[in-house]
Symmetry: D2
């Protein structure tokens, strides 16, 4: 699935309901809620938080998917092309953060990549 | 760009450096940082927060791209297929949240969609 | 209750267990989880998110208390005096943000306050 | 400083300006922004994120103070007594999470505490 199709799928789903897209601050609140659930699960698996008795393990795959869904909704509501957004960030990193890390011998991404 | 290519691009970038992937809790901390920057910008544009004098407007497109980049990194670090994660979330919504909203007349997504 | 007593109460609780304080990144993950729950509740009450059938209303009072508890834990773990931290922030606002907002006629806080 | 005084100080500050309290979703967005800054600093000190050249070290004390300030604002805007909220959370932990951790020998908090 490409970003465009993902945006279309979310758009078809949301616009099929009268409620439609939420305002940006409400989508943001939802994003935080989903990031919080992802956070809990990461803390269970890699941090210090034990499961309560009977607490079901959540799956990181689904938690990450939930965050992604809200992010796609926000991009849609804002008329933002997610593929373009992502490409610009990749470009920014290649330019800006090139010297921030230690290149592996002979393994750095070529500038023409 | 599709999810798979996005994951590959991020992987090539991160693995070209000695530091490689961060541990999950550090990626999470980074995710929160980027969500915080997105949050500030949404508050500037749609909420109550005025810009400080001389504060540059950030672009929501880039802020959303930054969050997406970290989310892709986390998926990579966890060996999670983002396209599959997204598909599962779409399926969950179609099953679970179907009756949570008000369908538009004759406009609901067909189950075969 | 003052900040000092709040810090002491949390310290007595946490140090009464073998597990003791978590590492900073795990406390942070917990903070995000609690902020996420607060976020969901604010979205229910002031945003766009309807309750699921049978979903209990949470109380903002408790959600805010939960966030505060984790923040106090983090301060304790870091050896930070919360009252001092708060005083410094008040001072910063009085200095830095004085001209960012519109003073009410005759109602601005006096500098000697 | 006690919680009541902290709430009064923030109230005097905010109500001295025409803008007054923000709506809950905007305060929440601000809270996320501050949690994001705290997150970045924790990641710098305890996680994996190096400082950029010339990036000033922030102080966790101030970052925690910033989060606390926004939390106090939210409590004020909601008419919530922070001391009461905190006490209820302490009570909840003593009741609910008592058996979730491993008590130190002879060191558990007495129920009458």
């Amino acid at each position: 699935m490409d970003f465009k199709e993902a945006q279309d799928r979310v758009d078809r789903w949301i616009t099929s309901f009268e409620e439609g897209y939420w305002p940006p601050l409400a989508i943001l609140a939802r994003l935080i809620e989903e990031v919080g659930e992802l956070s809990r699960e990461i803390n269970h698996q890699y941090g210090s938080k034990p499961k309560k008795d009977g607490e079901r393990p959540a799956e990181l795959e689904l938690e990450i998917g939930d965050v992604l869904f809200v992010l796609v909704s926000l991009a849609n509501q804002q008329g933002i092309d997610l593929g373009r957004a992502f490409q610009r960030v990749l470009d920014k990193y290649e330019r800006r953060d090139r010297d921030r890390w230690t290149p592996k011998q002979g393994a750095g991404p070529s500038r023409s990549a």
